[in-house]
Amino acid sequence: MRNGEIITAGVLALFSLYLMWKSAELPIGYIAGQGPGGGAWPFWLAVMMLLSCVMIAWNWWRGVSPPSQSDAPVLDSYGWKMLALVGGGIIAFVGLVNVISMYGAIAVFLLYYLKYLGRHGWFLSLTLALVLPVAFFFFFEGAMRITMPTGLAFTDPVFNILYEIIY
C-alpha cells in the first residue's frame, strides 16, 4: 500500500500537469472587458490538484496517512482475480454492445455472471438472462422511446420482429 499510494499520487500529479497544459490552450488570465479567460477555471483548479498531490506526497513521506503506514499489497491474489473476472466481464459486456446489441450483451453478461461467477443453476441463469433483456427492450424502446444500440446487421431479423410488436 505504501508504494501504491506514492505511485498513485505521482500519476495524479502528472495528470494534473497535463490538465494545466490542456487548459492553457485557452487564455488563463484576466482579459479586460471579457473577464477571466476560458482556460482560467480549469487551469487554476488543476494547479490546486497538483498542490494537493504534493501535500499527499508530503504526508506519505511523513507516514501520516493510513496507506503510507501499511505494508499490505494493494490487492492480494483474490482481489486481482476478482478484478479480472468481474471488471473484465464488464469490459467484455460493453465491448459486445456494438456487436450483438445492448440486449444481446446483457443476456451474455448475465449468463456469464450468474452461471460462471454466481454458480447458480441453468434454470435461474437462463431465465434471468432471457427475461431481463426482453423486459428492458419493452421498457426502453416501447415505453420510454429510447433506442439502444442494435449491433451488427445479423441481429436485424430479431429486432424487426420486436419492433413490429411495439410500433
Binding site: P67, L124, R145
Partner: protein, 507 residues
C-alpha cells in the same frame, strides 16, 4: 382567508375524478422512472408531454407535476437499494441510505426517505401558497455574485464530507470541477479540455457518467472485493408492524434532517440557477454540522437520509415558483413544464395568478394532493423494493451492473460515455483503496457548471475585483460563512496538532 378559499377551490379542482386519476397515474409512473438509474423526472415529463394533449390543460399540467413529484420520491429508491444515485438530487441520499441497506435496515431508510419527502413537500407547499409573489422577488435579487456565493457555501459542505485527509478531499473536489468544465467554454463557446484529442469529450462529461461509474461500478467492485465473495444477501424484513416501528424510528432519528431539508431546500430551490441538487447537498452538510454525532453520518444515520430527501422534494416545489410567477424555470424539468404551458396557451408570469386563477390554484392544490398520493403509493411499494434486496448478492450484483450500463446509455445515448463510465468505475475502485473520498468529486461535477459562469460573470461585473463577493448585502454574509466553513477543518486540525504537541512536551 382569501388564500385559504382559493386553495380550497384549487384542491377541489385537483380532486375532480379526471385530475385525481392523472395524479395517481403520474405519481406511479414518476416513481418507476425515478427509481431507474439514468432516468429522472426530466425524462418522464419530456416523454409524456405529448400524451397530455389528450386532456384539458389543467389536467395535463397536474399530470406532469405528479410525475415530477413521483420521480423525486423514486430517486431515493435506487440510492438506497442499488447504491446508485439515479439523479443528482439523490446523491446525498446514497451516503447514509446505502449503509442502512447493507446493515439490513433498508426499510428504515426507505420509510425515512418517504416521510421526509412528504414533510419537505408539505412545508414547501405551504410556503409556496403563502409567500409565492414575495419569494419570487427575492429570487430575482439573486445575481451572479449571490449564486456563486451560494455555490461556495455548497462547496464548503464538501470539505466536511471528505473525512480527515484534507489534501485528498481538495483533490477530489478540484477533479470533479475540472471534469465539469470539459467540453466547451460556456462563455466564449471555444472547445476546452478535449483530452487526448478525443472527440467524445466535445460533449462534456455528464454527472451521471461519473456517478454511475463511481457508485454503480467502482463501489460494487469494492463491495465484492471487501466481502471476499462472502456477501450472500441482506435479510431485511418488511411487515406492517415493522413499517410502523420504522416510521416511529424515522420520526425520532430523522426529524432534524427533515426540518433543515424542508426549509433550506425550499429557499435554494426557489433560486433560478440553483435547484434541488445544491439544496439537498447543503441540507445534508448543515444537518451533519449541527448534529451531536457528526461522525455517524456516512455510516447509516437516518438524519442523513431525511435531510437530502426533504430538501429535494421541497426544492422541486420551490423551483416551480419562479416558473409560475416570473416565467423563469428553476430546473430542466420545470423548463419543459414551462414549454408545455406555453403550448397550451398559458403565459407564465405575474399575470398568470390574475388571469388564470382556476388553473394556478388547481395546480397548487394538486401539489398537496400529489404529495399525499406520492407518500401513500411510495409506502405501498416499499415491500417490493425490500423484496428485491432479499435476492442473493450474486444475482443483485450483475443486475446492478446491467442497470448501470443501460441507465447510463439511456441518459447519454453515447457509447463513448459508457466506456468512460467503466474507466471511472475501475479508477474509483483503486482510488478508494488509497482513501480518496469520491463523493465530493461527484457533487463537484454537478455544481461546477453553475459555479464557473457565475464566478466569471461576477468578475466581469466588478472588472476583476473579487471584493464584489464581500460587499454586496446578500452575497457578503454567504461568502464569509462559506469561507469560515472551508477553513474550519484546517484550523481544527492545526489546533489539535498544537494541543497534542504541547501535551507531549508537558508530559
Amino acid at each position: 382567508m382569501e388564500v385559504l378559499a382559493l386553495l380550497t377551490d384549487g384542491m377541489l379542482v385537483a380532486l375532480q375524478p379526471l385530475n385525481l386519476m392523472m395524479i395517481v397515474i403520474g405519481v406511479s409512473v414518476g416513481l418507476l422512472i425515478g427509481a431507474m438509474p439514468g432516468l429522472g423526472s426530466v425524462n418522464g415529463v419530456a416523454i409524456l408531454l405529448p400524451v397530455t394533449f389528450l386532456v384539458p390543460p389543467g389536467a395535463a399540467i397536474i399530470f406532469l407535476a405528479a410525475i415530477y413529484y413521483g420521480a423525486m420520491y423514486g430517486g431515493a429508491i435506487s440510492s438506497v437499494t442499488l447504491g446508485i444515485p439515479g439523479a443528482s438530487t439523490a446523491v446525498a441520499t446514497t451516503f447514509d441510505g446505502r449503509p442502512l441497506a447493507i446493515q439490513g435496515r433498508a426499510s428504515l431508510a426507505l420509510v425515512t426517505a418517504a416521510l421526509a419527502s412528504f414533510v419537505g413537500g408539505t412545508v414547501a407547499n405551504v410556503l409556496f401558497t403563502l409567500f409565492a409573489p414575495a419569494l419570487a422577488s427575492v429570487a430575482l435579487s439573486f445575481g451572479p455574485p449571490e449564486v456563486f456565493a451560494l455555490m461556495l457555501l455548497a462547496f464548503a459542505t464538501f470539505v466536511g464530507l471528505g473525512g480527515d485527509d484534507i489534501p485528498k478531499t481538495v483533490f477530489s473536489i478540484c477533479f470533479g470541477l475540472v471534469l465539469g468544465s470539459v467540453g466547451f467554454d460556456q462563455i466564449s463557446g471555444a472547445p476546452r479540455l478535449i483530452l487526448f484529442e478525443m472527440n467524445g469529450f466535445l460533449q462534456g462529461i455528464g454527472f451521471l457518467v461519473l456517478a454511475i461509474g463511481v457508485y454503480g461500478i467502482g463501489e460494487m467492485l469494492w463491495t465484492i472485493e471487501q466481502s471476499r465473495g462472502a456477501v450472500t444477501k441482506t435479510t431485511p424484513k418488511m411487515t406492517v408492524k415493522g413499517m410502523v416501528s420504522d416510521a416511529k424510528d424515522a420520526t425520532k432519528r430523522g426529524w432534524k434532517g427533515t426540518f433543515v431539508g424542508s426549509f433550506l431546500g425550499f429557499f435554494v430551490g426557489v433560486l433560478p440557477a440553483a435547484g434541488a441538487t445544491p439544496g439537498s447537498l447543503m441540507s445534508y452538510g448543515v444537518t451533519k454540522m449541527i448534529s451531536r454525532k457528526p461522525e455517524s453520518f456516512g455510516t447509516g444515520n437516518p438524519d442523513g437520509v431525511a435531510a437530502p430527501e426533504a430538501a429535494n422534494n421541497s426544492a422541486s416545489t420551490g423551483s416551480m415558483l419562479p416558473m409560475l410567477t416570473l416565467g423563469i424555470p428553476g430546473s430542466p424539468t420545470t423548463a419543459i413544464l414551462l414549454g408545455g404551458m406555453v403550448i397550451w396557451g398559458l403565459t407564465p408570469g405575474p399575470r398568470l395568478f390574475v388571469d388564470e386563477q382556476e388553473f394556478v390554484w388547481g395546480l397548487i392544490g394538486s401539489f398537496y394532493v400529489s404529495n399525499a398520493a406520492a407518500v401513500l403509493i411510495n409506502l405501498a411499494f416499499i415491500p417490493l423494493f425490500i423484496w428485491m434486496l432479499r435476492m442473493p448478492f450474486t444475482v443483485l450484483a450483475p443486475v446492478i451492473f446491467v442497470l448501470s450500463i443501460v441507465g447510463g446509455y439511456a441518459a447519454t445515448r453515447d457509447m463513448f460515455d459508457i466506456w468512460l463510465m467503466v474507466i471511472f468505475g475501475i479508477g474509483a475502485f483503486f482510488l478508494r483503496r488509497f482513501d480518496y473520498p469520491l463523493a465530493p468529486a461527484v457533487l463537484a461535477i454537478v455544481l461546477g457548471p453553475i459555479a464557473e459562469p457565475t464566478l466569471r460573470q461576477s468578475l466581469l461585473l466588478s472588472s476583476g475585483d473579487p471584493s464584489i463577493f464581500f460587499t454586496r448585502p446578500v452575497a457578503g454574509p454567504i461568502t464569509i460563512i462559506a469561507l469560515i466553513l472551508i477553513f474550519l477543518p484546517a484550523i481544527k486540525l492545526f489546533r489539535g496538532k498544537r494541543k497534542t504537541a504541547s501535551d507531549v512536551n508537558s508530559g
